[in-house]
Amino acid sequence: MYSFEPTEEQTMLIDTVSRFAHSDLRPASHDADEEGQIPLNLIKKGWELGVLQASTPEAYGGFGEHSSITGVLAAEEMAWGDLASTLAVMAPGLFAIPMLLAGSEEQKREYLPPIVEGDWSPYTAAIIEQHYDYDPNELRTTAKLDGDSLVLTGEKAYVPFANEAKSMLVFASLNGQTQGFIVPNGLSGIIIGERQKLLGINALSVFPVKFNEVRIPSANRLGGVNGHDFSSILASYWLATSAMALGVSKAALEYAIDYAKDRDVFGMKVAQKQSISFMLAEMATEIEAIRTLAWEAAWMLDTGKEEAYKEAYLAHTGAADMAMMVTDRAVQILGGHGYIREHPVEKWMREGRSFSLLVGMTII
């Protein structure tokens, strides 16, 4: 069957997240970006909505099943409110979700319940590397087996909350394959740099982290000694950025529509000019089209389809282009006012550029 209708449960979750996004995230959004921080109580409130918990089985402290579709629905809704805050709320998932997807039974039982059952806590992951052709499948950070230990060497960037994280998953290349490694913070050899300044998502604190021959037990390899398949984790990264790209784009489209319908020009509203209306029509069409692609990819991942990886990649690349196009046009439609930071569109445009390159910044 084809169907585009969320389940009742999903609808309830979406509504809850949506209310939070409207009432809490959006009003705080502007100041968070200007000041470069998100109030902790806001993050905790978002955490208590239970998105991650709903995605984790009871055996590991949650009350649901992992569902990429549910994740995509919730992530779009939350990102609509504010992207940086969403990334903050979902940061513990950077550790928990790969653990859920690829951890060994032992690892899941040990690591997941404290995260999932507890209050929001800054668990995180280090995967992004700061070079122009960063490729999650060809990382420059390496892991080498040395007796009973693994030695991690390399430089990571864009690690959310690295300075406060209790523990992080570090992704590195082991014999040419990307693998995840559980790394408690504070180990010798871990050097956390100064907080990074970025084009957008300024409210989220991210850090470069150097690993100078950091030693961990070989049992800390995600999945145990034999490791894990990275492709479903990567596909989940792609779906996450696709979903959040949709949220930010929808926010920008709605704002541009409202502005264009209100603004007077040449004796009519700006929205009544064909060139503007066509821009809006194309923005709306692009969002709707990419959304269906992201949904299909999420469904494929949930149902174990072979093409899931490829389709998630297509959704990601499409969503990245969509977000840049839509948010750029939103600024354009607001004209001079779009350029001023009082309106949120320039912020969304700065965020719109992020989705193509920040693979690994968030996961569903």
């Binding site: 069957m1 084809y2 169907s3 585009f4 209708e5 969320p6 389940t7 999903q10 579709i69 122009y132 052709d133 960063y134 490729d135 499948n137 990567l234 529509i257 264009a260 319908k261 929205a271 009544q272 064909q274 209306s277 066509f278 809006l280 029509a281 194309e282 709306a284 069409t285 709707e288 089209a289 990419i290 269906t292 692609l293 949904w295 299909e296 999420a298 469904w299 494929m300 149902t303 990886y309 490829k310 389709e311 990649y313 297509l314 959704a315 690349t317 499409g318 282009d321 193509s356 390159l357 693979v359």
Partner: protein
Amino acid sequence: MIEFEAPKPISQQSFVLKTVAENMMRPVSRYFDEHEHEVPWDYINFMHMAMKATGAGSLAPKEAPKKDAEGKERPRIGYQMLAFMLEMLSWGDVGIYLCTPGGGLGAAAVQSNGTPEQNAKFLARFGEEKPAFGAMAMTESQAGSDTSAIRTTAALDKEMNQWVLNGEKIFVTGGQKSLLEGNGLVVVWATIDPSAGRAGMRPFVVEAGTPGIKVTKLEHKMGIRASDTASLVLQDCHLPFENILGSPEVIQDKNTTGFKGAMATFDATRPLIGATAVGVARATLELLKELLAQEGITIRYGLPRQKLTNIEREIIDMDVMLRSAWLLVIKAVWMADNHKSNSLEASMSKVRGGDVVTKITQRAIEIMGPIGYSQDLLLEKWFRDAKISDIYEGTGQINRLIVARNILGYSGRDLR
């Protein structure tokens, strides 16, 4: 719940239609492209026989809900089945697909505008022994996107209780076959009051064999050459009173029900045109990938853009365009099947389908260089076939207008 599994009847249908496309369409694609206006009777007769057996036909399904083994109603998938059918047949050859017998756009117009009795009366012919064709005549030389500018008139002869139509229609897809090959019909849009603009438009059924209507020209086109695109002249064409579609109240007063009926027809068929566009685009992209593979070029999905070759990037972008365009079509027809108002999604799917097939076919030839430009391959034909998708049944620009009005909450007066 959200899901994307093709229902069994659709998978089965696709299997059969793919065979039809490969065996009955592709081998003769070039022939009918070169012999414009010759009729592909082998395909037509085969399809007529096959469709009679399955009950398919017009561009609008008339589906009674079927019950499954436990007596529960099966989900409606009529429009979805049509979309898949049109996509696959267009993948074969969209020009030949347009020669498929059955009601076509004409029957869709009858279904959108006619009473149940009129439906029964006029559509029965498409299930008879011999193939028959249905067409719709709207466009005139001075009226394309602006349908309210049509000047074909319908005057009521009260004594004889007949309508008398006068005027000229152009660009009627299947116009010749509908009137001259078999017992078909053309739904002609005429005005009962030229001064009333939209409010005067009404649809009239002109059955094959009616005196006073003539095919005066067959167009020479860029593509879809197997499909006959006819000019029709109506000169004192007398029709029985009952041949005006709609109930008496609709007919008598000046109202825009007629015009709205035309728009409803297009709403229903828009995603289906999107489907035909996707079919041509898919044929193109598949062949392109095959040709590149022969040159040793593979597409490495999963790589960041910085590592992709230019050609890989183009192909991946085409994959995104094609899949998202197709899913939009599916969503639009799923909504139609589930009786959800789908005017927005229908227009979106037409916008995207037309856009995507144009871009993909144009880029494919660019990528294949001198090989792509040659008639040795069907690629250049698909480039020509593709373009009409963004033009007929509502141009991409008109459909953008419809999408814009919808998302802005504007009427036609607010946004021109």
